[in-house]
Amino acid sequence: MAEVPTGYTVLHERPKAFYDTFERKGDLQGQTHYCPGCGHGLAHKMIARAIDELGIQDRVVAVSPVGCAVFTYYYFDTGNVQAAHGRAPAVATAVKRSRPEAIVFSYQGDGDLAAIGTAEILHAANRGENITVFFVNNAVYGMTGGQMAPTTMLGQKTTTSPLGRDAFNEGYPLHVCELLAALEAPVYLERVALGNAKQVMAASRAIKKALTNQVKGLGFSLVEILSPCPTIWKMNPAKAQERVREEMVKVFPPGVYRDRTAEAQTRPAPPPPPRLEELPRLLDLEAHDFTPAADFQPGALDLRIKVAGFGGQGVLMLGEVLAEAGLLLNLDVSWLPSYGPEMRSGTSNCHVRISNRTIASPLVARPTMLLAMNEPSLRKFVADVDKGGWVLYNARSLPADVKAPEGVHVMCVPFTELADTLGEPRAGNIVMLGALLEASGILSREAIDRALEIHVRSARWLELDRRALELGRDAARKELAYACV
C-alpha cells in the first residue's frame, strides 16, 4: 500500500463494528464472501458505520437470514443469532423482548423476508416491535442460483421465469414498504437504492435513522434497500448499479413510506416475564393440597376408561375429574379427548388411563370401562370392552340387539333421567361417575371429591354435582343389590 503523505488524517476507514478478521476463510480474512459489486457488502458497511456512529456496538444483536447474507455473523462484531428462513423478525422479537436494552436488527433478503417470511414480517410490523429490519431487495434469489423472487419485476427473466415474469402467470412484484404502510403500527418505512453514490449516501442516512429510532424506543423501523446482484443479473457491477437506478426504482419507487418518528412516543418496556416459581400459580397448576389416605393401596392398577356420548353431555369433564383424582392419588394418568368440530351435539369421547405404572400410550383401544352416554356410543364401543370390565349405559336396559362381550359387567341406569330429578339434566355425567365409583370401587371418595372441587368452580354446580354423585352411588348400590339376588 502506498505511503500516505504527511499532513493527512484518516477520514473514512474500515468500521469498528466489523471483526478485525473474518474467520470464515483461510486467507482473505479482510474480505466478505460477497461477489464483486454486491449490494450486501455496501449494506453491511453502512450498518456497521451507523453502529459506530451511534456507539451501540456492545448492545447490538444482529439476526441473520437464510440466503447470501447467512454469514452476517462472520462480519459484525456484535451479538448474532442466525434464524431459520424467513423467521428473523420473530427471532428478533424474542431477543428484543427478553433483552429490552439490546439493539436488535434483522437483516433479510427478498426471498427470506418477502416469500417464506411474509407472515413474520407482517406481524412483527403490525405489533410495532421495537426492532429494526434491513430488507435487501435485489429482485431475485441469489444464493440458490437466480430463481424468481416475490419481488422479481414484470418481464424480468429468471431461471424459473425464463420467459420473463408475467403478471397473469406469476403475479406482480410484491411491494413490501407499501404493504407495511397499510398497517397502523410501523413508525418508519423507507425505500432506498444503491444505484449511485447519491443514492448510497441517502441509504446510509436511512439506515442510521432506522437504528436511531430503536435506540429512542420508538418502535418498528424498516429500510428496504434496492440492491444490485451483478452475478445473477449477469451484468458487470457498473451495469447492475445502472439497472438499480434506471429500472428498479421505477418499479419500486424510493421514498419515505411512513415516518412517525416525530410524534411517536417511546414504547413502554415490555413487562418483565414472570419468575419461574410463579408459573404454577399463574397457570393454575399449583399442587393441590391433598394427601392420599395412608391405606390407599391401588395394587396393580391399570384402568382404561372410555367415556363416550355427544358433545354437551359432559363426557370430557367426566374424564377430567377421573384423571384429576388419579393425579391426586399420585398415580400416572392420561386424558385424551376426541371430538368433532362441533361444540354441542357432535360425537364426543375421551380416553382416560389411570395406572400405577408409566403409561406408554394415552389411547384406549380395549377399555376396562365403557361409559356410554347414548346408544350410538354404546354400539360403537361395546365390543371393545375387555373381559372383566364394565359397561355403564345411560338407559334402563341395553337395546335388544346389543350384547356385551362374555365376562363383561353391565349396568344400565338412566343417568340423565336421574339428573332430571335434580332439576339439571346436564349433571347426568356426574350421576354416571358416582355409579362407576360405586360399582368398581376404584379411586378413593376423598380424591374424587377434591377433584370435583378443582374442576367445578361454581358453588351452585359443586353442590349440584355432589348430590348427583350421591344419586349415582345410590343407583349403583341398588343395581348391584338387585344383581346379587
Partner: protein, 83 residues
C-alpha cells in the same frame, strides 16, 4: 520548486489491493476521476482499483460505494495553520 504555490490535495486514498475485488464501483463514484482499475491482477485474479496518486478531493464517495469493509481508506488534509 515550481509547485511551491500549488495547493496540496484535500484528500488522499489508499487501496488494499488484496482486499479489492475489482468491481469498479469506486471508479464510478469518484468525482475527480482519479481512481482506475489497474492493468495488473491481484493474487485473487482481480484488477484492483488504483489511485492516480494525486487529485483526490477527499469526498469519500469511493469509500461509501465500496462494498468491501476495509479495501479503501480515505484521508483528509489536516488543517494546518496558514504558513
Amino acid at each position: 520548486m515550481t509547485q511551491a504555490n500549488v495547493q496540496p490535495d484535500r484528500g488522499y486514498v489508499t487501496i488494499n489491493a488484496e482486499e479489492c475485488k475489482g468491481c469498479g464501483l469506486c471508479v464510478e463514484a469518484c468525482v475527480p476521476r482519479v481512481l482506475a482499475l489497474a492493468a495488473h491482477l491481484n493474487h485473487q485474479g482481480y484488477h484492483p482499483a488504483e489511485y492516480a496518486g494525486s487529485g483526490c478531493n477527499g469526498c469519500g464517495l469511493c469509500f461509501h460505494c465500496c462494498p468491501e469493509p476495509g479495501a479503501i481508506t480515505v484521508y483528509k488534509l489536516a488543517r494546518v495553520a496558514a504558513a
